[in-house]
């Protein structure tokens, strides 16, 4: 009986610890989600292990400017994200820009893109990846 309570206690402690970590990661992302950038109203998250890659399919409207923010863990630069068009042409990768946690995209014509994100240190890492997509107001 006593063991049951200990297990329950441990579960609650680890649950609240995980939640606190998730909140910290979200705060990292939200730092860059500020006016004039407006969230698209959705929360994107994916649990990645080792060398898994999360795919994020989106439509970016012509004439708009977007900000893509990617976070994981408790510090910046934990995520590698790359943007491809439907023909798999590489449009951008933050790997070429010191693993920047966010990047802006000015879209000339409406385009379908796929964002691939993966953890930077694949060997010793697993965790949630958070992606935020925002559009620029009064573009």
């Amino acid at each position: 009986m006593k063991n049951k309570y200990i297990l329950l206690f441990l579960f609650l402690v680890s649950f609240s610890f995980a939640n606190a970590q998730v909140d910290k990661t979200i705060q990292l992302c939200e730092k860059y989600l500020v006016p004039p950038f407006v969230s698209d109203g959705q929360d994107y998250r994916s649990l990645l292990n080792d060398d898994e890659v999360a795919e994020f399919h989106m439509t970016l409207y012509g004439g708009a400017t977007y900000r893509i923010i990617a976070c994981s863990g408790e510090k910046e630069g934990n995520i590698i994200f790359s943007l491809y068009d439907i023909e798999k042409n590489l449009l951008f990768t933050n790997r070429d820009h010191q693993d920047a946690p966010y990047w802006d995209f000015k879209i000339t014509n409406t385009i379908e893109v796929v964002l691939e994100s993966e953890l930077k240190n694949q060997e010793d890492n697993s965790g949630f990846v958070f992606i935020s997509l925002a559009f620029k107001q009064n573009n």
Binding site: P36, D43, E55, H57, T59, D85, L91, T108, N109, Q137
Partner: protein, 303 residues
């Protein structure tokens, strides 16, 4: 062809959902497993593991961008476009409440963009009621409500706060295993914005609006993919997904000609300009059909 693809996606989701939730006969297990293996094998193209379904996210563009575009195109405010406030009395199920929370959110952005403040306040009152009934007070908390009320008429700030609040709601629902309601809010917002686009395109023949109407081809595919995992949840989910697939048939007829062009990156400004071009082949028949179908879908959800 495209629709067959959509249907197969729906089927795959359905099978995978079934796989994760039940363990019936060995024969069924092996049949499902073979479909599962086939799906993953089709996708895994190199050494990197690309996990489909669980780690594939689909985005639906913000419905507020439609209101911004309509305003920017100098289209006159049309009070007939928005859902009636009184309809809230009909929304007794969580399904109806959630989907119409998306609808009223898009309406609120449209009213605010057009400086219809007294009306916008009433729409926000409806949103407050629905968020309480859906137990979303974590996102629509007193501080946020005060912020929204104080910023009525300030279109930029309101849009920012409203988008953030809908994102918080989405996050809250995901964290509490109520994603089935989150997708309905998303679907309601998108359906209302497509209704606006189709109505305005039909009435004004504005080219920018027509193009944006055509741009919804892929977001519609994405919405179907997001919703498909709930196909078996209730006849209401089933019906709305089937209606959206029916609408996707019309979009199948719209061709998109895409041409890749080298993007230009400005490292100091942390911005990349994407110059690729895409041309939509959309005719009057497409517009009429989309307008007709989306009006019917919307009527079913708001009534």
């Amino acid at each position: 062809m495209k629709t067959i693809k959509i249907l197969s996606i729906v089927l795959s989701f359905f099978v995978l959902y079934g796989l994760s939730s039940c363990n019936s006969s060995t024969k069924k297990e092996s049949e499902d497993q073979s479909i599962n293996d086939e799906t993953l094998a089709e996708i895994d193209s190199n050494n990197v593991t690309i996990i489909k379904f669980k780690n594939t996210l689909f985005s639906i563009p913000s419905p507020y961008q439609v209101s911004i575009l309509i305003k920017k195109a100098n289209i006159e405010y049309n009070p007939e476009l928005v859902n009636s406030l009184e309809n809230i009395a009909n929304y007794t199920s969580n399904f109806k409440k959630a989907i119409n929370m998306g609808v009223y959110g898009t309406d609120l952005a449209y009213l605010n963009m057009n400086k219809q403040i007294p009306k916008a306040v009433k729409y926000f009152a409806n949103l407050k009621i629905m968020s309480e009934e859906l137990q979303l007070s974590g996102a629509f908390n007193p501080t946020v409500i005060k912020q929204i009320e104080n910023n009525m008429g300030n279109e930029d700030s309101l849009l920012y706060i409203l988008s953030k609040t809908y994102r918080e709601s989405d996050k809250y629902l995901k964290e509490n295993n109520r994603e089935d309601l989150g997708v309905l809010i998303l679907a309601g917002g998108w359906i209302e914005s497509l209704y606006f686009l189709a109505k305005v395109a039909d009435e004004t023949h504005n080219q920018e609006i027509i193009n944006r109407l055509g741009d919804q081809k892929h977001p519609l595919d994405n919405l179907i993919k997001i919703m498909s995992q709930y196909y078996n949840q209730s006849p209401q989910y089933m019906k709305i997904i089937e209606d959206l697939i029916d609408l996707a048939y019309v979009y199948d007829g719209i061709d998109v000609e895409y041409e890749y062009k080298e993007p230009i990156t400005d490292t100091t400004q942390k911005i990349t300009t994407i110059n690729s071009t895409s041309k939509l082949i959309l005719n009057a028949e497409h517009i009429n059909l989309i307008a007709e179908k989306i009006a019917k879908i919307r009527e079913k959800i708001i009534d």
